[in-house]
Every structure is written in C-alpha cells, then in structure tokens.
Symmetry: D3
Subunit: 295 residues, 6 copies
C-alpha cells in the first residue's frame, strides 16, 4: 500500500508540469556519451518521444562525434586541429556532411521505430541555418561557421503538423557554400529563434558545481547573474565555459529554462522535467520567483 | 539514486496513458464515504482536476447522501421508505432539490478554488435528463424517476469550452414535473449518452471479489461475460447487484471501460488510471484483448 | 380592412427594431409582482423567449422574494433586519441559497417548456460573481455582499451556443465563502460586464414620474443629467433612489439603454421594445440624439 | 390601453414567423398594377426591404409591362401579337432588353435609397437563365424563350454576401442568342432552382375564389390536389390558368409555400406573411398539416 | 529546334510575371476602335479571360461609343454638344443608360461564351459609383457627373467568388438621380478604389511619344515626374491630356502600373504584360527602380 | 512586329495549360546526363522552379549516378554487379546513403539559390518509403529493395506549406534496415501514391520511337494499349523496357500523364508541358480523347 501511495505522489508531482508544458517547444542537444552507448541512446530517444506523447514539441539537434574522424581516416586523410577546432577543407567538409547525414537518418529511424513521425533536416533545408565563416584567432580554419541567422519557418510548419525535427548542424553562407557548425551553438541559436520554453544539453557531467572538487555541491538552479558571478570567479573550467555562455545567452534571449543534464543517467530528461527537484542544473532569469514550481 | 529511478519508472508507466486518454470523457460518480470525509473530498476533487489538467474531460455526477434526510427532518417531516426507496412526496422533492443544489454548488466552489472552471447543473438545465415515473413493485412512491432520455448537447458545449460540469441527479418528465433520480443510474445514462471513454464509480468497497469472504480475491479486470457468470453464480450480494448491472450495461452500450473504485483510498482515481495494474475492478468488452496496456 | 392596415402599421413600426437589436444582449431583472402572479409569470417568460426567437440574446437575473422568508420560518428561525437589510447568518445563507436554486430551476423549467434551451446559474458557477462583504452603517449583517468583479466568460460561452442564462444573485468572496447579493445590483453589474445593449427592470411601478402625485406625468425618456437633476430635486422617494442610481450608473458604464417597466402590465417587455413610444421610462446618455427611433 | 394590448397581440402573432423564416429565400414576382402606381411601388419595395431586415433573403423578379410597347412605338415599330404572345423580332428584342434594363436599375435605385444593397441582373449574367426557343402552336414568334436550365450559383453567392438580387427575365440559348421570357415563368423557375421557402406573385386579383362571382369565396389555403380539382372543374378563367399551373408546379418541385397576393393592397406581403390568416391564397402540399401555424 | 528554343525563351520571360501578378487586380478600360471591330473585340475578350485563367482578377470598364448617338437619332432627337461634352437631358440619359446596358450585356455574353463567369454592373448596383453633377465652364450640361465616391465592396465580393465584373459608367448622386460618367474617369476611379495592381487603357494610339511627329520616339516607361515634365513642355496634344492626367493620378494614388496600349494591335494586353519590353507606354512611380523586371 | 505576334501565339498556347495544371502535382525523376552537365543542371532546376512559380506542385526524385561508385572506390572497395544490379553489402549501403545525402543537399541548395523553399528527404523520413528485399533471379544481392508501401502524408504536408520536396531513393524494411531503391521505381511509386497529375522522366533519349533506327519516327503520344503492343512487338530495347513498364503502370494506377523526355535538351520540361505538340513521348489512358489539348 505504501508503494501505491508513492506512485500517487510521483503522479501528483508530475501531472501539473504536463499541463504547464503543453504545446511548448523543447530543444534537446544530443551528443557525448549518451550518443555512443546504445542503451543510453534508446533511453534518450524514448524520453524524447514520451515528451512528445504528453504534449511537448521536441526538436533534436545532434553532433557527429567520433564518426567524422573515423571516415576522414577511411579515405586516407589526416585530421588537423587549430585551437581545438577541426581544420575543415572542402573534402573534410564533404565527409563531415555525409557522416552527419548518416547519423541524422539513424536517429530518424530510431524515432520512427517508436511510432513517432520524425524528419531529418540539415541547416540547408529551407534555409534553416545561415552562417558566417569563423576564424580562430584570425587564422583561416576552412569551412567552419558561426550561425548568424535562423529561419525557423520550416520548424514551425513541421511542429504544427506534428513531426519531430532532427537537425544536423550544417549551414550555408551568402555564397551558398557549406559550413560545419558546433552543435551546442546550433542548438542554442535554434532554441532562441523558435522561442523555445526549454533547451536541454545532454552532457557528460552532472551539472554545474559550486566547487568543482566537491561532488555534493551540484547547483540545482542558477540565475543568469549567479552564472555571471560564477564565471567571473574563475572557478569554471575551460570546456565548461562556452556551454555556460550558451546557457546564459539563451535565457537572456527568451528561452525560459535551460538545463545541463548528465546524459549518462538513464531518463535524465524525464527526471529533470517532471520532478520538482530535477537532477541537473537549471538556468533561469534573475527576476523569476524561486517558488517550488519555478520549473 | 534508486529512488530517482523509481520515479522514472512511474513516469514511463503513466505517460502513455496521458496520451491515450487525451480529450477523452470520463464520468465520475461521486458519493459514499468519499463524500463525507473532508480530506477524502479534497483528494477526489484534486484528482479530478489533475485529470482535467492533463487532458481528460471529466464530468462529475453526485448524490446528496445523508444531507437530504437531515433537512427533511429539520422541517419536521418523517422520512418514509418502500423497498429501500424513499417515498418522495412533492414537499420532499422540493427539499431534495434544494439540498442537491447546495451540495452541487459546494463541489463547484471546491473545483473553482483549485483554479478550474466548473459549472453546476441539474438534469433540468437544457433538458439534460428526461425521466419516466418509477414504480416499486407497482407501488406509487412519488417523484422518483428513471432516466429515459439524455440530451447531451449542453455537456458537449461545456466540455468544448473547457468547463468541468458537475451534475445533480434531478430530471423532468413529459409534464415538466420534477423527479429524483438514483445517482448511479444518472451517471450511467450520461456516460452512455456522451460516449464516455470511462465511467468510474467511487464506492465504499474495494471492487468486485471472486469470493466475497476472501479479501485477496479482488478481481482487477472483468469482461461482460465474466460479470454475467458471476451474477448468475449468485455470489454477488444485494447492494452490489444493481451496480454490476450498470457497469455491464455501460460497457455494452459503448463506454470503453467502467471502474469500481474504493473512494476511501486516497487518490484512487489517479492510481487506477495511471498505473498498469490499477487498484479496483475494471469492466471491459469480451472482445478486448487482455494486453498489459488494455486500460 | 382597417384592422388589417393597423396590423401592417404595427409591423412596419416593429420590424426595424428587430434588425437593430439582432445579436444584442438584454439583461432582464425579474422580480416583484410579476414573479408572484402565475399569469404574469407566463407573460414575462413568453416575452423573453420571443425576444430570443427574433434575435436578441437575453439574460435573466432573478430574486427570491418572499420564498426565502417562508423557508426561514419553516425551519423555525426568526428573520432579522437592520436598515431594511436581512441579517444573514450562515444558516440563513444556506436556506437563501437553496431557495434561490429552487426558484432558478423553476424559471429554467418554464423556459424549457416553451422549447428554448435555458441554463440556471448562480454567481458561483465559473466564478461569475465575486463579492466583498457589505456593512450597513458599519454594522456586520453577515453574509451580504457587494459585487466587486464579474467574470462574464461563461455568459459569452453560453450565449454563443444559444442558451438563455438564468442567474441567481449569489457570489463568492476571496475566501470562497457564500454571500447573498441584491438582485438589482447583480443585474446592473452583469449588464455592465457583458456590455449589454439593454437592461430592463421589471418593477411594481409604471416608471419615473415628474410629479409622483400626478399619474399623467410619467417620463418616457430620461437622460443621465436629467436623472441627476431629478435626484437632486429631492422628489424621488426612498425605495426608488437606489434603482435610479443603478440605471444612471449602467448607462454611464456602457449599457446603451436602461428601462424601468411595470411588470404588472402584460407583455410590457415587447411593448417597450417594439413600439416607438414604449410604456415605461427609458434612460439614455446625454449625448444621444432624441430622434423618434432613439430606442 | 386596449390599443396597446392590440399591438402586443400583433407582435406575439408575428414574431414566431420571423424566427421561422430566418435565412429563408423568398422569390417575389413583381408586376401588374403594383408596378405602375408610385405609392404601391414604394410599398412593395419597403415590404421587401423589411423582409430582408428581419432575416429573409428576398429575390425580386420583375416584368417590363407597358414600357416595352411604349418604346417599340417610339422607334416607329408596330407591335404584333400571336395568341397573345408578342412577336419578337431581333430589333424588338433589343428594345425589350434595353427597357427591362432601365426598369431593373430603377428598382435597384429604389432599394438602395432605403439603405439596402441591391444588384440588378439579367438572366445572361453568369449564365443564370438558359432558354429554348418557344413556339406558339407551332408558329415562329421570334425571340421568345422557355427557361430550360437555371444556374443559381450567382444567386447563392449574392445572397451569401447579403445582396438583394433583382432579376430581368431575359436569357440565352445554346447559340448565345438573346430571348425574352415570361416573368411569371422566370420567377417560378428561379424559385424552384434555389429551393425557395416561398414564392409570391403580386397580381391584380385578390387570390383564388371558389366561385369567381362571389367575392366572399376567397380561398385562403389550397393544397395541390384541391387546385387540380379546381382546374378540372373548369371554373378557373383563362388568364388565371397558367398562374395556377406555376403555383402547383412550384410547390410540387420543392417550394414550400406559394402565394397569390393582391398587389393593390398596401403592404400585402407583410400581411400575408406575418399574420396567421393572411390576405391572399396560399398553395401548399397535400401532406402538410393544416395547423394554425401552417404558414 | 531553333524555333523550339524561341518558345522556351518566351516562356521563361513570361512565367515569372504570372507568379508576380497572381491574385492581383487589373482594370481594363475598353473602348475606341477595339470596340467596333469584331475581330479585335474577340481578341480583347480572349486576352482578358486568359489573364483571368492564369490568376489575374480583371475588371472591365467600357464606354458606349457611337451606339448612343445612333439610338438618340432613332427616337428623333438631335445630339447637342458643349465643349465636346454631350448635353444630356433626362431623355438622352434614359437612352444612354439603355444603350450602355445593351453593350454591357453583349460583353457579358462574349465572356460567358469563353466559359468564364461574368457579371454586368452599372455604377448604380450596390452604390458602386456615386457622382456630383459636372459643369462645363459653369454651364449646365445636364446629367453628366464626376465620380466623387466609389464603394468597392461589391467588386471585392464578386472577385472573391471568381466573377469577372463588367461595368457601365453610370452613377447616382445624392438625390438618387442617374448620371453619365466618362468611361476613362470611371476606370481610373475604380482602379484607385480597389487598389488595382494595374490599369490598362485600350486606345487608338500606340502610346506616348517623346516627339509626336516621330513614330520611333514611343516611350516605354514613364515616371510620374517625367510625365509632369512632358505635360509642362506643351508637347502633349489636347485629347491626350486628360488621359495622361488619369494615368499620373492613378499611379500617385496607389495603382502600381498604368498602361496606355494600342487596342488595334491584336493581343496588346498579353504582349504588354508578359514581355519584358511591352508594346505601349507604362507609367510608374518616381521611386521605383528601373530594373529589367520593373513591370 | 511579326516577332511580337509569335510571342503572342506562344503565350496563347501556353496560358491555358497554366490554369489547367494549377495546384497539380508533377513528379520529376532527375538523373542521367542532365545530372552531370552543370548547365543542364541549372536548366532543369530553373524549369522546376518555374513550374512551381506558376502553380504546379513539383516533387523531385533523384539518383546518385556515378558518385556512388567513386566513393566506394575512395574507401578501397571494389564494386560488384549481378545482372546489372549493384551488390550492396552493408558498408556499400552506408556509402550509398551518404553519397545520396550529399547529392540531395546539393539539389536543395540549388533550389534555395533561386529563392524557392526546398526540403531534402530520404525515404526514411516519416516512413515515406517502405521496402521489401529484392532478389535477382533468386540471388541475394544485399540491401537492394523494392518499394512496397508509400506513406505520402509528409509530402502532402510539405506541398501544402509550399515546400519543394527533393527525395533520395532510400527506404526501410520491416526490421528498420536501410535499403537502396532504383530511382525510376521510387519516382513511379511516389507519383502513384500522391495521385500525381504528371510524372516526367528526364532521360538520355528523345523518347519512344516507332522504329528505333528511324530518328523521325518519334512517338508524341502513346496510349497504354499502344505501348503494350509495342512491347509485344519486341521492338523495344532492353534498357528501355523497365522504363516503359513504369510509364504504363503509372498511367494505369492513376497518374494522368507520364512523359519520357530528353534531359539533354535545355528546358525540355517547359517545352513538353507548355506547348501543344511537346518534345518527347507522352503516355495516356486508352479512353482519353485525342484532342489537341489532351495534355
């Protein structure tokens, strides 16, 4: 009987969120470990389709991970990096695009297997992602681009008709040349452009820590100012910095909540969204009230 | 962490039902102990509003319980019964209608307090419930009626505009005279007329037992034929008989599932609907497949 | 033949009004003698349904009259008054609500008998009438309230779907406690909130007189300023004062025409609305032109 | 006061008809004396616009009367007749079309003066009236045609947008040549094609008499069979025969009621339609019940 | 093969215009020689129906030309002119209206023959053209009017339902008297009132010349300022002046392009609209860019 | 001037087709030489976008041509064929999918450059193409599939919102494994499923010849029976046979017209569709009338 009452409690906790997020857009950046382990992959895809079932309008933005390097190797090229950014000549760009397409259609297939209509897009389709060439400290690193305009019309059209869009981070510039885009940046730009309710990054960390050495210091909620302070304090490690920047910028430009989640925890998306406490770090505006249901 | 995984499981179990029952009508017959205890009252009303929040279209049909007898006493009348049916002269009918109105508006107020739009109706409003005079073994027992026609238009109109209708079991006959109706019968007639997905009776028993003396023999699911057999077997006690009749007749006339629940268990509605096993007895068609998700 | 020409004249006089008031809302405050005489009752209900037939959207607001006192007596309580206002303890309030419900459903039934869809509401339904406790010269007189907010959504929804709403003057305060409201005040507040074209008070007087002692001095039309002057002149008797206040305030807050009619004249509503001269007193804005068709 | 009650009675008699005929089509054949007297003209046009104001959708079909002969004379031609039908050579047809256009636009102007949107059409517009050449006892009488197809689309489009169509009885044959049509026939064909509720002929007689010599024997209502009997009895005079034929044929092909009215009685249309007894002769189906409100 | 490539070129040139002008209104003033030659008549009507087929919404405004004088003669009247304007007494007005009606219905018939729904209107219908009496140098010349208000509602309604309106230039003044209107002026007023994309005058000249004596100096495009200069230069002949005034005024009040075409060239409308260079003179705003596709 | 008249003729010939095909679907199979020459590529894409501009709803289905073999070589694999069908192991399938994706997005980019919204799909997206494994004379040739079900919903949704879908011929089987599909077969299956008005194959031949050795014997129109006879006659060469089979089957299953065009002729699509004679071979039903405008 006690077990049954626990169930009732979980439901009473979760149900109001379902109403609250009805017809709202959530952008999920999918990458990292959650992408290489097949069980986790199934978990993530199941979570996203459940979100869709109960009324969310999810959009997945994915990276290509290690597969690109593998294929670059297969054709006998050597990968080259500048400041951690892949130098992308036109042949490398061709391979990157082909590999991302392959990954994209794999995700489409997995969603279709669960009975949900999915469509794979790249940023080229209907002019979704427009880019400007990016330089690394002034150095030309080839076809690497920064998003400078998003045309969300195709996303609205697909969401209206109940499709789940899955997006590969590739774009066109003014000359209709093809560019690679960092997947975090693409997800962030898209979330802003569609006025998403939520943006969730599936990562390989549990969230943001007050003290990176103290695993008990995970921060559940962070306002933008608090994030600014944290960045200013110098405690945030290098790899984490651009991610935090994306989170704060997304909230400041209209995304209501941004979440950093540990993609290695099964069903991290459901747990973050449908429980009061959540399991990762949630970013919010300074002016939002910190009520128990601030999610 | 184990606790967190439990939560994920409850959610993964519950979420598909939410999708399945989206925009479906559930008629809840509210009466018995769940009506006299204030905590249970709050539980029931909270459950119904949560059902509404996540997409159900609930309708409440209520009785008047002991309050009618109290008020009959207050004006100095003596209650009189024939075969367990209250003899209802015109003054008793007047009092019954007034008391049911009072109860009706109390329920409306409780739902409004939770921020949900409710409307209290009697079967007189817009000709909702039309009755024929009922006789008890040929004996005239006054203004007691059987529903012989339901005009569900007002319910569709209110559900369309997102109201929660709360209905007192009173009706008019061809002469536009006022009649009292058994609340179980009214709920059953209304569920059939609106083609409800579900009809749930909140009662003072846990459900139907294979062996009334063996509390472990509670039946989770019962097809109409099985119910027929059970009735034929003579094991079902007197008070339970008409309720079983209502259940079977509702399923046979198009209500997809009928539930007998123990209104004394907090949140019995949520537990029955959003868990695979449920907690009461569910009635279904003979031809329905008994899959794990037959709910 | 002359008789026939008379008919043509009446029609030619009436038809343009029918066009003019198509889809317009009229709030009818129903009370007084027109409520106690059964013939007059039928006349009023017939008039209101005819108004509806030819395109008006009527709303009825009714009082409870002497029936409340009768029932208070039945349960052995003694009615108590302060400055003419009934002292309303919680038991009296319960009885008042029950009696008003009974009257409400009687009116619903009468309209239904004429083949028109009616719905009985109290101000509790869907939060229609919100009140603040009223004090009489600072003295606590119990559950008597002043309307301080009307939520007309339910009325628009019902009128859209072609129902005739019939409203009992009861409301809830911030604590969701039940209060009695003066029916004139309730009608006036509702007419303002829905932007009614017309508000008609069925009373026991013929209208407003220039000289209360001269029955030939009935005023057909009165602008707000003229009404102000009349009030300032001190000629208006006590009982009439709050009614005049309601009329002037309704016109000033957007009700196009307010009518005081003698409910004892059969079909007073039709005659006031569909004849050029009318039979009672009509209130209008100062700036309206006094053309022959100013109705 | 008695006068006032009379008014109420007229209204109570008329109002239900207004509801009954809401959005229904009435075709009025306008011709005869009602066309030559200017006061009667104003009366007819006022009646038709009042019908429109209170919800009818009227269509006027008119003839050209004596004006055609006048203009034929003006250009020095001599009118020629065979069996009472005008021999219509192509020049006569040209004049007839021009004169009917003139009359048509005069009626349009009169309706516009009353603030109602009117449109003048001939049967050529949008292919409204298609004809076959008519022969008189095998003799060629020129451009005189029988309607053999009506394309009512333009009428539905104009009625939908709230225009009052006024139609001159001219049509085209398969070779797109222009033909004159008898106005009674045109009105009858149009009424059938649009499924009119009513077709009213304004004539120079009071209606149909049982005994043509007994002015008190006017028949208020006539079923099709009764009309058949009357025709068979040989009592109906020559000029009346084709009109009766049109009435019976219209009823049999779906027009609910056909009325023969005396266009010389002012406001005959209002009186026939909005009073129980009417003033002319009404044709109806054999199977319709002869209730008091059979109109 | 070369021939085939030519066809492809014509199509590639024409197709973008079809897209550009989809659902746009073009007003065609039809008169002059194009009206008296039957082959040219067929050409014009064919062109207009083709424009309609490919998505334009055309409106034709026509004059009556020499037919009016002919009919005035037939009834034995003598035509009289003041400053080139016909003195129009009431009988002449009657004849003019009748003749214009005849021409109007002829055009309707020709369009119908090509399978397109046409409707003939005069400016009286639904109050389309409202006029003020016009004086010629202060001299009363009878029923000649200047358009002072256009009510385009009827045109929008007909275009919405896919009719081709054909308009005779007749209007009503405040007293509902009938007036004749210059057809160029009527076309210009209508084009402004409906916000036409194009207004095309079919005339008996090729267009506007830089030097009237040099046939090679035809001007293809003219901005309003250039037209002003041309007028100021005194080179434009008398008959051409009001036409140029209409063109400039139409462009300045919102008609995007105005065209003067030689109605004697077969299919001048198609050639002007669907070829880059056109064949007449096109008027445009000063601020429009003179790109190759400025049409 | 003669040149100008020629233009008018081309327009008069072409314009009715534009109306006729408004909102109709045309499926274009794009492959062969038209794919390898860059000028021809631009011509084809321009034609398709012009078709879209004037109201067609085009869908492009493309192959991958030689690029697949190239990439198979790049990764050091050797292409293997059985009966002319590529043996497709899972690595070859991976490469084929990636190459087709690249080609797909190139076409998307070219259409976007012309200002038209394009979306690239594979048959995996939203379950568009479902396949069964194909055997070559009973021999397993790997992941080569036959279309056995098309779910056209995504195409309708995209066409409704005005996108141009570009489809790579890849599908999933019951196990959600990836298969390669012959592009002609995919185009044919899609044209049937969406009920296309037209299906056009861009090929490297001019059309079907009566006598393959006589270049003047090109057949402009062919009914299905005639095609059957031609096939039976044994005159049709091997490579042509399956194409003819596709043409006949498409017409028999509801595609109104199927065209075999020479993709090497610039603008072959425009010339075939907008000229009466066309330039390739058109397939039609036996029962269609062979009028001049049978296109």
């Amino acid at each position: 009987m006690q077990d049954v009452m626990k169930k009732a409690e979980v439901l009473i906790e979760a149900l109001p969120y379902i109403q609250k997020f009805n017809r709202k857009i959530i952008v999920v950046k999918y990458g990292g470990s959650a992408m290489s382990n097949e069980d986790l992959q199934r978990n993530v895809i199941q979570d996203v389709t459940l979100l869709k079932l109960v009324g969310f309008k999810p959009i997945i933005v994915h990276g290509g991970g290690k597969a690109i390097s593998n294929w670059v190797g297969k054709v006998g090229k050597k990968a080259e990096f500048v400041n951690g950014l892949r130098v992308t000549d036109s042949e490398t760009m061709e391979i990157a695009e082909m590999v991302l397409s392959k990954v994209n259609k794999q995700l489409v297939t997995m969603v279709q297997e669960l009975g949900i209509k999915a469509i794979g897009l790249s940023g080229k389709d209907s002019g979704l992602l427009h880019v400007k060439k990016k330089y690394s400290d002034g150095q030309d690193i080839g076809f690497v681009g920064d998003v400078d305009k998003v045309d969300p019309e195709i996303l609205y059209d697909l969401l209206d008709r109940d499709y789940l869009p899955i997006i590969a981070p590739i774009g066109l510039d003014d000359n209709f040349d093809t560019y690679n885009i960092n997947a975090d940046d693409a997800a962030c730009a898209i979330a802003k452009a569609v006025g998403a309710e939520k943006l969730a990054f599936l990562t390989d960390i549990e969230g943001v820590y007050k003290d990176i050495n103290d695993k008990t210091s995970l921060i559940s909620r962070l306002t933008c100012s608090e994030a600014d302070d944290l960045i200013a304090s110098g405690q945030i490690g290098g790899g984490m910095l651009p991610k935090l920047g994306n989170c704060v910028s997304a909230v400041r430009e209209g995304v209501n909540r941004v979440h950093i989640l540990d993609g290695r925890i099964p069903h991290c998306l459901l747990l973050e969204i449908f429980t009061n406490r959540g399991i990762g770090t949630m970013f919010m505006n300074d002016t939002d009230e910190l009520t128990s249901c601030a999610k």
